[in-house]
Amino acid sequence: MSLLPYLDVGLALLIVGVAVWIIAARDLFASVVSYVAYGLLLAFVWIRLYAPDVALTEAAVGGGVTGVLLITAGKRLGALKSIAPEAQPGLAFKLLIGVLAALVAGALGAVIMMLPDPPPSLAPEAAAAAAGAGAGLGNPITAVLISYRSFDTMLEKIVLILAVVGVWSVGTDKAWGDTPAPFRRPKPYAPMVFLAQMLAPIGALIGIHIFWVGANAPGGAFQGGALLAAMWMVTMMARLVEPPRVDAQWLRLALVAGPAVFLIAGLAGEVVAGSFFAYPPGLAKPIILVIEAFMLVSITAALPMLVAGPPSERSEQ
């Protein structure tokens, strides 16, 4: 008689409960804060699914960085007190949508109960990729990301850049080239400066450690980059470093470095190893390491820019 099933069911109920609260809460900010808690609970489920890599990504990106993004948005929107209470949909409409949503969830649930047996799996191919082209990578997920499905990973980095471009382009013309707004404080505040000074070096160390062990253990450029990005944001919030102007050359170079290096390596594979994104055997590990290092730089640069939002003009004083 094990306690584990009860724990799993309890956890599942808790997650669904928090999700219901996100949807049902009257207050906008309560809903946003619950979402941060929800991201944390999801990390748990991923541990139970034997996916520590995903748990780490969920904790860092899903819970941490997204949480700050949403809290910033929620607080700023909540400050707009002029909002008239919007017309809520009527009860009949809500009921109808409820039935529709329940049907969709039920259908999905039925599909889940009827998944094919034996389950299809790409694991053998991924294992081959880890042993072949991604030589020397003990972590199969890193092997998949960087070798077996390398094209996906590169395009995903390009999506990040496109998102940064999208966010920046929402700003006003007058503010173009200036720094993003949310990290500006009037004055440094001692306890926050202390916290940032203690946290940032340790955090940078941990971020690089997680990036480095990613070859063989849970971790990698995504997770390490997200932690480094979080630490950069903390130092900016404490006014230890100034946020960069969005037209700064080094910032743009850092943003593009990851996908650019990835693309060059991919094209070089066509010439050297005979196919696009093939790595020459023997050199695979160092090449992958270089690509990952530049991706780390790009992720670290992109995430804070996405959270900070478009550039906005400094108020003239």
Partner: protein, 112 residues
């Protein structure tokens, strides 16, 4: 019922909840939260598929898990763009709404 099937069912429930919230809520940020719920529900179903596909000496199929990692980052990027749009919309319109008629009414003269 194994823990992974349970996680998959939680994913299905989250998709349903998110869909409901996405349609019901007039507030764009609430819609964004609901949309993220749908996303994470789908990721959990991927997690179930990955766990079921355990083979070749792994406790899981690494391909769906790697796709979820990519997905989480892309979902974050999309959320960031959405938040930027919502904030700009709020600044321009002076109120937070997706109601197209709000634009034709002058500021301050909100719906009764």
């Amino acid at each position: 019922m194994t823990p992974s099937v349970l996680a998959g069912l939680v994913g299905a429930a989250l998709v349903g909840l998110g869909l409901y919230g996405l349609i019901i809520h007039p507030h764009p940020l609430r819609k964004l939260l609901a949309f993220n719920l749908i996303g994470s529900g789908v990721f959990l179903v991927f997690g179930l598929v990955a766990r079921r596909g355990a083979a070749a000496g792994f406790a899981f199929d690494p391909v769906p898990q790697a796709m979820v990692i990519t997905g989480i980052v892309v979902a974050f990027a999309a959320s960031a763009v959405a938040v930027a749009l919502i904030l700009r919309l709020a600044v321009e319109a002076g109120r937070v709404t997706l109601d197209p008629e709000a634009w034709s009414r002058p500021k301050g003269e909100d719906a009764k």
